[in-house]
């Protein structure tokens, strides 16, 4: 390290490192002693001068003192404006620090004393012992001159000492006014010198983030907010909310509305969302906001305040209602040329399996046909055409019902409902296809039609409320399969809508003693979905009563688990709000008490990354239980739910699940693959893939089934060739075991979901936002998978359709201001974390250039490769409106 200070380098982004500043100082001191004669003439001169100043300072003559101090200050300032090593003046003054300190103590109050304090404050930077905060003390006693004049390192040191002093004073409850003045100075210095992260850190330490608002400006607010939002993930509540609040206010202040909206959605604060709309005056921008809200899966009513013009309001409401989602998706499909319908055989690719699978029996197997129904539904989801269900009705013998009647009893429900999946998001056409099944006299078929209506309306809102109009009439049907069809349909169609009308219809079912258990279970689940994350007390009450009314025997049923789950969904991501209900759940029958406890805890903290809750849940998994307890399953899934929010926690969770897998009991091992599936949903990480592949050959068939389903989940909508190959091999390995083969088929359907255009990831907008309805859908499936035999392999296989709540196109579609798709070149590459990085770092790496619409894989980010347009949203995902760049010039 060269001892020559370099005045040009600004250690703006560099981490403060006390060691590097102090250790060399000692070294140089030793050298100093030994090799004094080695000093160059210049240095010797400087040293002698400084020694002279020290002597003069102690001179009784104030004039002389003043001159000496000023000269000393000049020497130091000349060299401390920047600091990569200990500057010479400081080095030479080290031996005199003690002398000066003593003298300062003896001095009478005067300007000179303050001046000396300033100098001592700087000297303390390298001299004071650890933890004494001398630098700060002298600073407070000093002249309060411009803080930056002593260099950056000095400011950073002060900031550190302030943080320590603050905690001590908080403990003593003494005044902090003098500190805050200093904080003001430091923050403004940092904000001016590209050190936003340090400013934010200091303000967080002294718990006064509001100060930030005064200091951000046009050049640094983006970096500041970026740092704030990323830091929020690692802060304990309620600090995280506070930090995001500040970020929101900064964004609003600088009219960066899309970002502000994002944070408002994250906070689930409707007031803020409204404010974004009222603050923004640009209609096209508002359209972009609507797209963002629609992607989040939120039910949102625009009002007069937000948009004055009725016509505009209707256009915006249309976007929020997702009514154009189907069109956009099909645009993408046509562009990528995957419109051609696929048959289940195209997915199984049995010809690659050396003729084994072709040895299939000549007689239809209901189980296999059912799996083909699901595969067909998932693969052709949203495309509006397939080769099983929508084939023209005038084909030979038996009409379009052909495939339908290749399914048995309750299998027909799933078959008809698959039409809803194929027509997903296209309500008008979908209803047309489903209509004829309403008139069937076969109850499972009617149930399927009802469920299909729910599926086709998933995430789409319509003024005419077709789903409610059609389904409400069947809620009290005498056949329970029809009832379940209608109730589940409503749950899917109105998830997250908090629709009062439905609550009025469904709540009585829960507390009716004559209702069969399965209807109650689905009603509770649907209510949970509709009121997801609402903390609605009325609904909670009815589910709690329903749970209390169950007899001992009923509590042992597999479907009973949907009651606590429905209850849990009400508090999805709502953290402390769950506490009252959790307290009530302690009074439940012990058979369900712990299950309920775990479900509530995991739902309430889902997506928060709360480390304490992760530990709680892990502790539950560590216990060795009496036989028959089933609550460890939801605890393991809960681990994944809580930890899935950010990458770091996610990786740690994958590691700790590996341990749980090794040491846990059988019922835990069964849930671990599902937890892995949730953690890496639609994100096939190779390590997880390998773990699941290993587990898919486990001797315990339930572990194997869960692993197979999870293989499907982590590859969902990716067409991942490696997983597809694994599943193909599994299909030949398990070709004789009907249950496992069914799971393999379903997983194959997942992997090729929407022919690779869909994702199940509930996180969107660069992993910031978590769509509660999407998570609710996935979690429901996972809970059902905890007892595969009685639910999915039994007669409730249609719970697989709950996944539709999480299905979203993983596309980036650019539209012009009149919402017509336009094709522009974009670069797509792996996203890079740029938070807190100096300068303007690249946000993607290893990119390729495509033209829109494009698919985005997990962890990928897009950026426009042309200057011709400006995107209205900084997050290039889903629908993005482009505005022509007025400054663009054709080259």
């Amino acid at each position: 390290m060269a001892p020559v200070p370099d005045p040009n380098s600004v250690g703006g982004g560099a981490k403060r490192d006390e060691a590097t500043t102090k250790i060399p100082s000692k070294d140089s001191k030793k050298k100093d002693d030994k090799k004094e004669e080695d000093l160059s003439e210049e240095d010797l001169q400087l040293k002698q001068n400084l020694e002279l100043y020290v002597e003069r300072v102690q001179d009784p003559n104030p004039e002389l003192q003043k001159i000496a101090l000023e000269s000393m200050r000049k020497e130091i300032r000349d060299s401390t404006s920047s600091m990569t090593s200990v500057p010479k003046p400081l080095k030479f003054l080290r031996p005199h620090y003690g002398v000066l300190k003593e003298f300062h103590a003896k001095m009478a109050e005067s300007d000179l004393k303050k001046m000396l304090a300033d100098i001592l404050s700087v000297l303390a930077l390298t001299m004071s012992a650890e933890g004494e905060r001398e630098s700060l003390n002298y600073r407070l006693n000093g002249s309060e001159s411009d803080i930056g004049s002593w260099g950056h390192e000095y400011v950073r040191n002060l900031a550190g000492e302030i943080a320590k002093e603050y905690t001590i004073r908080q403990g003593e409850e003494s005044s902090i006014e003098d500190l805050m003045d200093l904080v003001q100075q430091i923050v403004s210095f940092h904000m001016k010198h590209n050190a936003e992260t340090e400013a934010v850190d200091l303000l967080m330490d002294v718990e006064d983030l509001d100060l930030l608002l005064e200091h951000v400006d046009n050049t640094n607010f983006r970096r500041t907010c970026n740092y704030l939002t990323s830091a929020a993930k690692y802060l304990p509540g309620p600090d995280d909310m506070l930090v995001l609040d500040i970020a929101y206010m900064i964004y609003i202040k600088f009219a960066e509305y899309p970002n502000a909206l994002q944070i408002a959605l994250f906070l689930d604060n409707m007031q803020y969302v409204k404010q974004v709309f009222t603050s923004c005056t640009d209609l096209v921008k508002k359209k972009q906001f609507c797209y963002m809200i629609a992607r989040h899966g939120m039910t949102f009513e625009l009002d007069q305040e937000m948009v004055a013009n009725d016509e505009d309001k209707e256009a915006l409401q249309d976007i929020v209602n997702n009514s154009k989602l189907s069109e956009g998706y099909l645009t993408l499909a046509r562009d990528i040329e995957v419109m051609e319908a696929k048959t289940p055989e195209d997915i199984y690719k049995a010809h690659l399996l050396d003729g084994r699978a072709s040895s299939g029996p000549s007689v239809d197997s209901a189980r296999q046909n059912l799996s083909a129904t699901f595969v067909n539904a998932f693969v052709n989801a949203g495309f509006g055409q397939d080769k099983l269900m929508t084939v023209p009705s005038d084909s030979t013998s038996g009409s379009a019902g052909n495939w339908l009647f290749k399914n048995k009893e309750h299998g027909k429900t799933s078959a008809v409902a698959s039409l809803g999946m194929i027509q997903l998001w296209d309500v008008e056409t979908g209803l047309g296809h489903l209509d004829k099944y309403f008139h069937s006299n076969d109850n499972p078929v009617v149930a399927g039609a009802l469920l299909g209506v729910g599926i086709v309306n998933c995430g789409i809102k319509n003024d005419c409320d077709p789903a409610f109009a059609l389904l409400s009439g069947y809620i009290d049907n005498e056949d329970s399969s029809v009832r379940i069809g209608a109730i589940m349909g409503l749950g899917i169609a109105y998830a997250g809508s908090q629709n009062d009308q439905i609550k009025i219809r469904l709540s009585p079912i829960l507390n009716d003693a004559n209702t069969p258990l399965d209807v109650i279970a689905f009603a509770a689940l649907s209510l949970g979905m509709i009121y997801v994350g609402s903390c609605n007390e009325e609904v909670a009450q009815s589910i709690i009563f329903a749970l209390m009314d169950r007899s001992e025997a009923e509590l042992g049923e597999a479907l009973t688990r949907f009651l606590p789950l429905g209850l849990g969904l009400l508090y999805l991501g709502k953290q402390e709000s769950v506490e009252a209900t959790a307290e009530v759940s302690k009074t439940f029958n012990e058979k369900i008490r712990k299950y309920c406890d775990m479900t509530l805890l995991s739902c309430a903290y889902a997506g928060t990354g709360n480390v304490l809750k992760v530990q709680d849940l892990l502790a539950q998994c560590g216990e060795h239980l009496v036989k028959g307890d089933i609550h460890q399953g939801p605890a393991v899934i809960g681990l994944a739910m809580v930890a899935m929010s950010e990458e770091l926690g996610l990786d740690m969770e994958i590691r700790s699940l590996e341990r749980v897998l090794q040491y846990g009991e059988q019922n835990i091992r069964r849930a671990v693959p599902l937890a892995l599936g949730l953690l890496c949903i639609s994100n096939p990480k190779v390590t997880v893939m390998d773990t699941l592949s290993r587990l898919s050959h486990d001797t315990d068939s339930e572990v194997a089934m869960a692993a197979i389903i999870s293989l499907g989940l982590i590859g969902a909508g990716t067409n991942n060739a490696r997983i597809a190959g694994m599943l193909r091999n599994l299909s030949s390995y398990y070709y004789k075991d009907a249950s496992l083969l069914f799971c393999v088929r379903i997983a194959q359907g997942f992997v090729h979901m929407g022919k690779g255009l869909l994702t199940l990831n509930p996180f969107h907008s660069e992993r910031l936002l978590l769509s509660p309805t999407a998570l609710a859908g996935i979690v429901t499936l996972l809970h059902a998978c905890l007892d595969m035999k009685s639910i999915i392999l039994g007669k409730y296989h249609y719970v697989l359709y709950f996944l539709v709540l999480a299905m979203q196109p993983r596309m980036m579609l650019t539209v012009d201001q009149s919402l017509k798709p336009i094709s522009v070149p974009v670069r797509v590459g792996q996203a890079v974390d740029v938070v807190g990085q100096a300068g303007r770092p690249k946000t993607i790496t290893g990119f390729q250039t495509h033209s829109t619409p494009v698919l985005l894989a997990a962890g990928e980010r897009a950026e426009l490769a042309t200057e011709k347009y400006i995107p209205l949203s900084p997050i290039l995902e889903g629908f993005v409106i482009l505005k022509e760049n007025p400054d663009y010039r054709e080259e």
Partner: protein, 470 residues
């Protein structure tokens, strides 16, 4: 008068006039004209409610220009077909088994894999099965009680296997087998010991050959002997023949292929006093096959008694075996002559199958054919007699055999490890019977069981004669 627009599928019917004084049925009739959907099939949705035929317009709060949605089609209503499809899950177990294309596995009763695999291999011989099914349940005098019981148990086991889908536990059979052959009941540490499958195989065939003898003291050999037996004649004294159920494939350093092993196995060395030399000398006894069986069984002599360690050690050497085996050169002169004509015929048929090439060549080959024909006719009398002996069937042996089942052993010694059988089904598919588990296999993988590692290696292989009708 209000006007509304109605959305139906992808169409929108703009500004339809609604006469609020008339019942909604009239409105539906209007829509019928536009869409062709009969009113009773129309579902019209107004703000989360369905429009009833007799509803009161005023209560619906309809606004001018409101958008309604209609659902409904003129499509035919789906009716279930008269006769629903039959599902595999609904079929009785037997039919499910038939659909599977191969029979069930056998449950391991504790180190009984040697027995399971042996029985699966034997079961693959349809002729044996039919002989067994003809077997009388009543005991005849010339069969002892236990042999009779074992034969009946075998028959019952085969029957049960054909019926079921799930693995069968061969408990009755196992009890009888132990009774008949107490060596299989040996215990070691309280468990049944692993046994040599070859021993089981030989004993089973012996028992069956005893009990399946024709009732009258006729000249005909018993059914088992007719199927599996073959006569060996040592070349030196042509009169001495030996009847065996299987050939041995000896494994030495030179043997890399089944054929070499067989040759080796037919050579025996014995020491006896030579009258010519006046001292003991090593005689080489070379046997040749004198008659061919329908099913040729070959045992790989992989186990030998190792004195040092006092156990049956295993030779892991890789010995390839073909899917199609020609044992022409192991046959005696007489037999070879008999085989000439059928072999020629077979070649011709195969040539024809190959198509034009062969037929073009056939003219030039004409002479050869004649010559062999001539040779064949000279031996005509002998051949016909042997043909009569084999039941007068019009089919002839060709000396060519096709692999039908393989019994493999995995492990380092005869008394440990695991036996598995691999059986070719009538459909041409190979099935691996690993106790209760059955799985389909590829034909290429069958020839990979030739040893040289720790994978399953062939121990007993069974070939089926390729017959040709003249």
């Amino acid at each position: 008068m209000l006007t509304v627009s109605v959305k139906w599928q992808k169409k929108v019917f703009e500004s339809i006039e609604v006469d609020t004084l008339q019942p909604p049925y009239v409105f539906k009739a209007q829509l019928y004209d536009l869409s062709g959907v009969p009113p009773e099939r129309q579902k019209i949705m107004v703000k989360g409610r369905l429009l009833k035929d007799d509803a009161d317009w005023s209560k619906l709060g309809l606004k001018n220009g409101q958008k309604l949605m209609m659902m409904g089609t003129a499509d035919e209503i789906v009716k279930a077909p008269e006769k629903g499809p039959v599902f595999m899950e609904d079929l009785p177990e037997e039919e499910q088994a038939a659909n599977l294309g191969y029979s069930a596995g056998l449950v391991n009763l504790g180190n009984t894999c040697y027995m399971n695999s042996t029985m699966q291999c034997l079961k693959s011989v349809p002729e044996l099965k039919s002989e067994l099914s003809n077997y009388q349940s009543a005991r005849t005098k010339d069969v002892d009680q236990t042999s009779h019981m074992l034969t009946v148990a075998t028959r019952e086991l085969f029957r049960e296997l054909d019926k079921s889908v799930k693995a069968v536990a061969p408990m009755p059979f196992w009890m009888v087998l132990q009774k008949k052959y107490p060596q299989f009941a040996q215990l070691h540490n309280g468990n049944h010991m692993q046994q040599d499958a070859e021993e089981c195989w030989t004993q089973m065939l012996y028992t069956l050959s005893q009990s399946l003898k024709p009732p009258s003291p006729s000249e005909d050999p018993d059914a088992v002997r007719a199927l599996f037996g073959l006569n060996l004649r040592s070349s030196e004294e042509s009169s001495e023949t030996e009847s065996v159920f299987s050939l041995k494939c000896h494994i030495s350093h030179e043997v890399n292929h089944l054929h070499e092993g067989l040759k080796h196995g037919l050579k025996g060395e014995l020491e006896k006093t030579s009258p010519a030399l006046g001292r003991t000398a090593v005689y080489i006894k070379e046997s040749l096959i004198d008659s061919l069986p329908r099913y040729l069984t070959v045992q790989f002599v992989r186990f030998f008694w190792k004195r040092e360690s006092n156990q049956k050690a295993k030779i892991l050497r890789k010995v390839d075996y073909p899917l199609e085996l020609d044992i022409y050169d192991l046959c005696s002169e007489d037999l070879r002559k008999k085989l000439e004509a059928p072999r020629q015929k077979l070649r011709d048929i195969e040539g024809q199958k190959l198509g034009l090439q062969a037929s073009a060549k056939s003219s030039s080959n004409g002479d050869d054919v004649k010559m062999t024909d001539a040779e064949g006719s000279s031996n005509g009398s002998g051949e016909s007699s042997s043909g009569d002996q084999q039941g007068g069937a019009a089919s002839h042996m060709t000396g060519i055999y096709d692999l039908v089942s393989v019994l493999t052993h995995k492990g380092r010694s005869a008394d440990s490890g695991h036996y598995v059988s691999w059986v070719k089904q009538e459909s041409g598919k190979w099935v691996q019977y690993d106790d209760a588990n059955t799985s389909l296999q590829r034909e290429e993988d069958i020839t990979k069981l030739s040893g040289g590692g720790d994978w399953h290696m062939a121990y007993i292989v069974m070939y089926k004669a390729r017959l040709i009708s003249m």
